[in-house]
């Protein structure tokens, strides 16, 4: 028995898990986070490999003393900020409403205390 103080409930979690709404919530989460994770890891890996093995290319001056390496590095910052913003928008619009509805349905009559 764990100490995670779960209320003794008779809920059939498998039933919820296979419900259409939950399947949709999981699909929406995964269809966003898996490809996005793949994308930023690949983009980061390409950047690291270029920095590691393509010194000449990275040293190419673009304007003044600013070279390709510096621009690609700053683009890593930019892409991190953009992906963060896009995910928050997506989660607020597509994930939170569905998750809240499911949570309220499941918790049902039991009063959902706290700031949930």
């Amino acid at each position: 028995m764990s100490s995670t103080e779960r209320p003794p409930d008779e809920r059939d979690w498998s039933e919820v898990q296979s419900s259409a709404e939950f399947v949709e919530l999981r699909r929406r989460l995964r269809v966003f986070v898996f490809p996005m994770t793949g994308f930023f890891l690949l983009w980061y890996l390409v950047y690291v490999l270029l920095a590691d093995y393509a010194h000449g290319f990275m040293a190419t001056k673009v304007f003044g003393n600013v070279n390709v390496g510096l621009i690609l590095g700053l683009l890593q910052f930019a892409s991190t900020f953009v992906i963060t913003g896009v995910y928050v928008r997506y989660a607020n619009r597509k994930l939170d409403p569905l998750a809240t509805k499911l949570r309220e349905d499941i918790e049902g009559a039991t009063p959902a205390g706290g700031a949930g």
Partner: protein, 534 residues
């Protein structure tokens, strides 16, 4: 043994005065915060009452260690672009936490990483494994910070005697123990918030100051750094100065890059911070704030690094006491004289204090909650007894960290941080991701990925050139290295993922009911731990 060995123009009394003011202010805050610390949830998770932005600032305070402030600025000043590469890995890593870990972890756990890993597994073996990995990662990280404090003291306070440095390390350790004992997670969080605000404000002022000297033109600043460095100056602007030497060093950099990007989301002290907010949505906001602050801070360090190169010069920095770590303090002095130097020195100390406090509370929580309450007492204990054990553990860990820091003072232990990231990425991350996303995952898989990742990273580090075989190794008298790379990530991370998969498919254990419960809770927040109302 004299002040002349420290940074010239340094005023140790002023530095100590500013640092003492920080300690007094934070202690007042910690004592005030402690008034409401009663339950286990208060002690471990600050009653889950912090807002997303507050927690995001605290995460930045927890994450931006002295290594990232002094180390990265110094690395950029001396090695140019290669120093910048670190900061990119440290930042991009937060996307793993944002997209895959933070919210689901907040919904399924209570206090520790072990809560999530053990949710649908056999409790005792998995919690024991999670606690082992948490304690090892936290302790190595802690030791690196404490040992680094000794060097920093030499640089900033002009304390160069071994005995005096040991005394300062002990003082740092004792203040940290007081924060954790008295304030619990709430006090620790406020220390981190104050420190993050000071650190980011200090870096902002210096960044604007440097840019103003170059007419807010990045290209002129880079030209300044190139000119100051002499014949090899041009190399500062592109990658390869540090890592480009040989095929092995290039591979080493690749290995480091992978460990950095995958390690963050497996660091126990980062994970534990997600429990201090009331909901998964606030956990998401925490990460957004953390990414913003950490990203902006690393952009500052880019300017500070090249600024130190241009205004102080890589030769002066390399020869200064503290080596590359002295770049940011020397720059502060070049810009604003002893007062700015004193402020930056005090902020560097505050940084060490806040980071070690965060590590200590994480390690003590894992021991008390996973090992004592669930493995030893099998869940039959009271929260009050558990918190008492956590407090005792915090004192023990603090004492061991002081002793370890004094013994390791002056040793080259920078590899311990790389090791902490490698273990986090090899042992913790695979287990967390499999638990959250892979239906079939089971106890044997969890144990194999944790212990497999842990053992492979530690064995490879022990037999790496970081420990023996080169002039820069920790041990120079004997050579027993056979693994060519400093960083084990490129081998140990795939090993952790592979062993987790293999262990799972070789075991017949399945618990679809529990998996359904975990997945529904993770995604919807049903039954998630609520905030404590005071």
């Amino acid at each position: 043994m004299t002040l002349a060995q420290s940074v010239e123009g340094n005023n140790p009394a002023l530095n100590i005065g500013i640092f003492a003011a920080f300690v007094v202010i934070t202690l007042v805050v910690v004592f005030r915060a402690s008034r409401n610390t009663k339950s286990a949830s208060d002690y471990y998770a600050a009653g889950r009452a912090f807002t997303g932005p507050q927690n995001g600032i605290a995460i930045a305070g927890d994450y931006l260690s002295a290594a990232s402030f002094l180390g990265i600025a110094g690395a950029i000043a001396v090695n140019g672009y290669d120093g910048f590469l670190y900061s990119i890995g440290f930042l991009v890593a937060w996307l793993v936490a944002l997209l895959l870990v933070a919210e689901l972890l907040r919904n399924t756990g209570k206090f520790t990483m072990g809560d999530v890993l053990a949710f649908r597994m056999k409790q005792r073996p998995v919690r024991a494994a999670a606690a082992t990995s948490t304690l090892i990662v936290s302790f190595f990280y802690l030791l690196a910070q404490m040992a680094g404090a000794g060097g920093l003291v030499a640089l900033l306070l002009g304390v160069t005697g071994t005995g005096a440095q040991a005394l300062v390390i002990a003082v740092v350790g004792v203040i940290m123990i007081v924060y954790v004992l008295v304030g619990g997670m709430k006090g620790t969080t406020w220390v981190q918030i104050i420190k993050a605000a000071l650190l980011i404000a200090g870096a902002l002022v210096m960044t604007l100051w440097v840019l103003a000297k170059y007419g807010f033109n990045l290209s002129s600043l880079l030209q300044g750094a190139v000119d100051k460095a002499g014949a090899v100056g041009e190399k500062l602007l592109s990658p390869g100065k540090q890592y480009g030497a040989t095929g092995t060093s290039k591979l080493d950099f690749l290995s480091l890059g992978i460990a950095l990007v995958l390690g963050t989301a497996g660091l126990p002290h980062v994970l534990m911070r997600f429990y201090t907010v009331p909901t998964a949505r606030e956990a998401r906001r925490s990460v957004v704030w953390a990414i913003g602050l950490i990203g902006v801070f690393y952009l500052f360090t880019l300017v500070l690094g090249y600024g130190a190169g241009a205004l102080v010069g890589p030769d002066t920095i390399s020869k200064a006491p503290g080596g590359v770590n002295s770049a940011a303090p020397l720059l502060a002095q070049a810009l604003g004289g002893p007062v700015l130097l004193g402020l930056i020195a005090a902020i560097a100390f505050a940084t060490i204090l806040a980071v070690v406090a965060g590590l200590t509370i994480t390690a003590s929580a894992s021991f008390a909650h996973d090992v004592y309450a669930n493995v030893i007492r099998r869940g039959k204990t009271t929260p009050a007894a558990e918190v008492r054990v956590a407090r005792i553990t915090a004192v023990v860990i603090g004492a061991v960290a002081i002793a370890g820091g004094i013994l390791a003072n002056g040793q080259n232990v920078a590899f311990l941080v790389a090791l902490a990231f490698a273990v986090a990425a090899s042992a913790n991350l695979p287990t967390i991701l499999y638990s959250l996303f892979w239906k079939r995952f089971n106890t044997r898989g969890a144990l194999w990925s944790i212990y497999g990742g842990l053992i492979s990273s530690i064995v490879l580090i022990v037999f790496s050139p970081a420990v023996s075989g080169t002039a820069k190794s920790m041990i120079t008298s004997v050579d027993f290295h056979w693994f060519p790379l400093q960083n084990p990530g490129i081998i140990s991370i795939p090993a952790g993922f592979l062993l987790g998969w293999l262990g799972t498919v070789l075991s017949k254990e399945r618990d679809p009911g529990k998996q359904a419960e975990m997945e529904v809770r993770a995604l919807t927040g049903v039954g998630a731990e609520k905030a404590v109302a005071h």
